[in-house]
Structures are given as structure tokens and as C-alpha cells.
């Protein structure tokens, strides 16, 4: 539709700059808060999946309830695992493999040798929260890397060493202690390996060895084909489905271990915070849109005489509406662009703290989509309001 400079200067006169500025300002604030809230939500829900700094918030370790004395082993059948994998909240399921052979570990400190029978477990490498460089096994090499729970070290340092007057040890120091392992089983005569504790996990409450070592050793010492059902599973879960998970576990008689509750609390807090922020932003935006609609009404009301005169000269309601539509489109475009820019700037505030716990760095696509949706919806509402009111003037309303 062609633009007429005279009409433009005629209709422009009734625009209240104060009202328009008020709308722009309040809507920029509202939309910025909405977008920042969405951005924060997206960021706090994403983390580098292949990152060493894997944040152990999304994992639970499951085991079956042991009833009575438990002669029948409490293990997960393949059917149990398949059913678990079908749950919408279960993103990945990993099986714990137990050692099927005897392990005797010994270490010598200051000429004194200590030894103990022990056991190993393994899970696929993806499920570890730490991944030390030495985390690999080669039979030629004969070195077995071990990861133990952080809790074990804490237990020793704070529960045992302090009251006994023994020295406390650091993770680095523990890593330097050489360990000798003697492995034996029905299928092979005993052999000795060098080993060392190469890392501490806050997710896995066990003594873990690489999966490749476990598979190799189980086959060598316990005999091939001896691959029992796992008694423990590690599951990456969708944190938003907390209630569903609880209900499922209860129904299936499964126990969840690990510090899922406290991790859940952190994520729940982050999610709740972003929902509260987004809701507030939406409220401000809705009010701002009401201001704009009210301003449009006032503007059209003030211009009613002129609009009627133009209609008597032969201007169509659609043509007259188009001038007002251009105003709201420009205004909404400005609001959207400024709000997106502001939200991106705000992102810097939380980017660093979030990245420290392994989160953030999500794509800005959801923000772009939300901003575009806002622009389209609000502009459409404005245009409908304008056209209806101008039509009302045509009908002598």
C-alpha cells in the first residue's frame, strides 16, 4: 500500500510520545526478563556431555531390595533393564559389572606390607564423572587403574585418621601409593598386577576399574560365558521427572542410592528460579502490551474525526489502518531487538558461575524463537485491535 506523506503527518500528530516511550520502556524490561529467564533455564539444563567436569546431578544408582537373608541374588534381569530403558525419564542405563574372580590387594608403606581381599566393579566409561589420563588397560602393560569413591578417602581422613592420630592424606598422595594386585580364579592360575588409584568419583560409590579390564579379567579368571545379570545399574535421568522416578522405583521394589536428592535440589532450585523469573517477565510484558493496546485506543479515539474525514474522501479503513500498523510493527521490532540484545548481555552474568559447575553454553536458538514468537503474536494482536477499531469508526461507532 502506498504511503502518503500528508496522511502520515496528519495522523502522526495525535501520537503521544510519552505513552509510546512508556510502552517501549516497560515492554523492553518485561521482554528482557522473559528472554533472560528462558535463556537461564536453557543454560542451566545443558552441560557438555563429553566434558571431564561432568556434573553428577543427573545420575542415580539402582539396586534391588534385598529381602531377608537374600540367598536368591537381587539382580536385574534383561527384561527389567529393557523396561527401565523404556521409561521417558531414563536417558541412559549403564550396568555395573562385578568381578567374578578373587582379588587380593596389597601395598607396602615404610617396609610394612598390608593386604586385603577386595572386589571390583566397572561401568561403561561414559558414566564416570572423572576420566583420568591413565584410565585404560592393556594386558601387555599389566597396569590396572582404579577409581574409588571420594567418600572412602573422606571416611579415612575424617573418620579414622584424625581420632587415631594418623596423618591425613591428599588425593595426590594416595595416587602415588603403589598397589599390587593378585588375581585368581577357577580358570587361571594367580597372577600379579601393578595398580594405582588414579581418581576419585563423587558419583560412583564403589571401587571401579576400566570396563575393558573387567571384561578381560572375567573371561580370563572366571571362564568365558560367565556373564551374570547385574545387581546394580546406573541411570542418567531427566531431573524434571522426580516424582515419576520415585513412583516407578517404589512400584518395582528398586532402591536408589547416591546423593540424588541433594543434586535434585540444586537443579530444582535452578529450574524454579528461572520459572519464577520468566513468569515475572511475562507479567510485565502482558501489562506493557495492555498499555500499548490502551494507547492505540486513545490514539484512534483522538484521531476519530480525522479518520472519518479521510473515509469520506474515499480512503478505505484498511488503508488508514496500515498507517497505525506500521507504527506498532516498528515499535515491536525495536522492543524485540533491544530485549534480545539486553538478554544476551545479561547472560554474561551467569555464564561463568554456571560453566564452573559444568553447565551453560546452550544454543541461543530458543531465545530467537521466543523473541520471534513474541513479535508475531503481539503485533498480530495489535493489528487486530487497530482494524476492528477503524472498522468501528467506519460504521459510525
Amino acid at each position: 500500500m502506498k504511503s502518503n506523506r500528508n496522511i502520515w503527518s496528519l495522523l502522526k500528530r495525535n501520537i503521544s510520545k510519552g505513552q509510546l516511550a512508556g510502552y517501549i520502556l516497560s515492554n523492553i524490561v518485561g521482554l528482557t526478563v522473559v528472554l533472560a529467564g528462558i535463556m537461564f533455564y536453557v543454560d542451566s539444563n545443558s552441560g557438555g556431555e563429553d566434558d571431564d567436569q561432568f556434573f553428577s546431578r543427573d545420575y542415580i544408582v539402582l539396586s534391588k531390595k534385598v529381602e531377608g537373608l537374600g540367598f536368591k541374588p537381587a539382580v536385574f534381569s534383561q527384561a527389567d533393564i529393557a523396561k527401565l530403558e523404556r521409561q521417558p525419564w531414563a536417558k541412559r542405563v549403564g550396568e555395573f559389572t562385578s568381578s567374578q574372580f578373587a582379588v587380593k590387594g596389597s601395598l607396602s608403606m615404610g617396609g610394612r606390607e598390608m593386604s586385603s581381599y577386595m572386589f571390583f566393579e566397572s561401568v561403561p566409561d561414559d558414566f564416570f564423572d572423572v576420566k583420568p589420563q591413565e584410565w585404560a588397560f592393556d594386558p601387555e602393560d599389566g597396569f590396572v587403574p582404579i577409581i574409588v569413591s571420594k567418600d572412602y578417602l573422606a571416611l579415612y581422613n575424617f573418620g579414622f585418621a584424625m581420632p587415631q592420630g594418623l596423618p591425613q592424606v591428599s588425593e595426590e598422595l594416595v595416587g602415588m601409593v603403589p598397589i599390587k594386585l593378585q588375581l585368581a580364579g577357577a580358570a587361571h592360575c594367580p597372577e600379579t598386577f601393578n595398580a594405582a588409584i588414579v581418581g576419585f568419583s563423587s558419583r560412583l560409590n564403589t571401587i571401579a576399574v576400566p570396563q575393558e579390564f573387567m571384561d578381560w579379567a572375567n573371561a580370563r579368571y572366571a571362564g568365558a560365558g560367565d556373564n551374570p545379570d547385574p545387581s546394580r545399574l546406573i541411570v542418567q535421568v531427566d531431573r524434571l521427572a522426580g516424582a515419576d522416578i520415585d513412583a516407578y522405583l517404589q512400584a518395582e521394589g528398586i532402591e536408589a542410592a547416591g546423593d540424588q536428592s541433594s543434586q535434585g535440589n540444586i537443579s530444582k532450585f535452578l529450574s524454579t528460579a528461572s520459572v519464577v523469573v520468566t513468569t515475572n517477565g511475562l507479567l510485565i510484558s502482558v501489562l506493557a502490551v495492555f498499555i500499548l493496546i490502551l494507547s492505540i485506543f486513545l490514539l484512534l479515539q483522538k484521531s476519530k474525526g480525522k479518520i472519518r474525514s479521510l473515509m469520506l474522501l474515499g480512503y478505505s479503513p484498511r488503508e488508514i489502518s496500515s498507517y497505525y500498523e506500521r507504527i506498532v510493527i516498528s515499535v515491536n521490532l525495536i522492543v524485540t531487538i533491544v530485549a534480545v540484545a539486553a538478554a544476551v548481555i545479561f547472560r554474561r552474568v551467569w555464564a561463568e558461575p554456571l560453566s564452573e559447575i559444568g553447565l551453560g553454553g546452550a544454543s541461543a536458538l530458543p531465545i530467537a524463537i521466543s523473541a520471534l514468537a513474541y513479535l508475531l503474536i503481539v503485533t498480530a494482536i495489535n493489528i487486530v485491535v487497530i482494524r476492528r477499531y477503524v472498522m468501528k469508526i467506519w460504521n459510525n461507532g
Binding site: 502518503n4 469520506l312 480512503y315 478505505s316
Partner: protein, 220 residues
């Protein structure tokens, strides 16, 4: 193109209940079974003020609908016309000079005229200048409409009214604030424009009527 405008038993709703009074019975238009404006007519409608002249023109122009009876353009009842058709009629079939003129006070004389002429593209800038010149307001071309006298405003409104092709031109008290000399110039301009398009002229007045040559007088 509109050849004739037929009016049947037309009466403003405010006159409802007065159908049997002497005044209505004396009217040549109100409540008459059939009154027709033919293309090429030259009519002066005379009436006392408050007797519905402006209402009649508003009804015909589709600007108001508070009447009983019917108005038809070439047998099509105007109540059935849509927005698009009305916009066509107002830019190419019927020209109107409202009594209150409806100029935009915040625009200049030429801007006021352009608002119409931009829509129709009917007159060249030179033709507009010529009309302003003949009406003696060429020097006011860039003046704000609000700074003009009523008589000057009437002349601007007349120029604007003829900035479109038309089959009928309705003029509501076009010369109420003009002297006889200007009245003759306005009549001359309107007749020239109408003759060129074989259009009808309908002018109203309460006394000072437009000095058309051989008009038919009708009393409302």
C-alpha cells in the same frame, strides 16, 4: 458509473411520527414515493435550517444510516453496498462538499487538496493552481487551513471536491460565506467540471443559493 439516484419514502428517523404533518406533506423529497436525481441534472434544494439538508446528503453519501425508506444507485439499495464499493463511489462517482467542509486545520491548503488528489490522481498541479487562482486564493496555497477565513476555507473545499471524477456532485451550502462574485466563479467551475463529465449537480442552501444557470429548485 451511476446514472440515477432514486429516493423512496425517505425520512430521517428524528422526523418519525411527523409523517402526517403539513410540513412533511409539503416536502418534495421526504416521504415522497419516488424522487430521482438523474445524471446531468442541475438542482438547488432549498430548506430552512434544521430541516435535514445535510442529513439527506449524508444518507446519500453512505455516511449515516439513521433513516427510513430507501436510497438506490441504479436500482441497487445503498444499504447493501460494501466498504470497497463505497470507497470506489467516493473517489470516482460521487463528489461531496460537506457543509462543515472537513478540511484538516493542521495541513496547508495544498496538502488538504493533495490528500484527495493523491488518491484519485484527477488533477495536475497546474490545474489545481489554476483553480486556486480563479478563486483568488493562489497566495494561500502554503497557508495552514486553520489560518484561513471561513470563506477562504469554502473555496479550498470546493477545489478539493472537484479533484475527482464524478457522476454527481453534492454541495452543502457551498457559498454561504461567499460574495456574489465568488459565488459566480464557484458556479462556473462546478458547471464546467460537471458538463465535461455529463454529471449532475445538487446544491443546497438556506437562502444564498449557488448561482447555477437554469437550475431546478426543489424544496425539502
Amino acid at each position: 458509473m451511476i446514472e440515477k439516484i432514486e429516493i423512496n419514502r425517505l425520512l430521517p428517523l428524528v422526523f418519525k411520527g411527523m409523517e402526517d404533518t403539513e410540513r412533511i406533506r409539503a416536502s418534495q423529497i421526504w416521504e415522497q414515493p419516488s424522487f430521482v436525481f438523474e445524471k446531468g441534472c442541475k438542482i438547488c434544494i432549498q430548506a430552512e435550517s434544521g430541516w435535514g439538508k445535510s442529513s439527506l446528503l449524508s444518507f446519500i453519501y453512505g455516511n449515516r444510516g439513521d433513516y427510513s425508506g430507501s436510497i438506490a444507485f441504479d436500482s441497487v439499495d445503498i444499504r447493501a453496498l460494501g466498504v470497497k464499493r463505497w470507497c470506489e463511489i467516493r473517489t470516482s462517482s460521487i463528489a461531496l462538499l460537506p457543509q462543515e467542509m472537513r478540511l484538516f486545520p493542521e495541513l496547508t491548503v495544498i496538502q488538504n487538496i493533495s490528500v484527495k488528489n493523491d488518491l484519485t490522481g484527477h488533477k495536475t498541479p497546474a490545474e489545481i493552481d489554476d483553480l486556486l487562482h480563479r478563486l483568488g486564493i493562489a497566495d494561500k496555497k502554503e497557508a495552514m487551513a486553520r489560518n484561513l477565513s471561513i470563506g477562504q476555507q469554502q473555496r479550498v473545499a470546493i477545489v478539493r471536491a472537484v479533484c475527482q471524477p464524478f457522476d454527481f456532485i453534492f454541495l452543502d451550502e457551498p457559498v454561504s460565506h461567499l460574495d456574489e462574485a465568488n459565488n459566480r466563479i464557484v458556479a462556473q467551475i462546478v458547471e464546467e467540471e460537471a458538463e465535461r463529465q455529463s454529471a449532475g449537480i445538487v446544491s443546497t442552501s438556506v437562502g444564498n443559493h449557488l448561482l447555477l444557470s437554469n437550475p431546478k429548485f426543489v424544496s425539502l
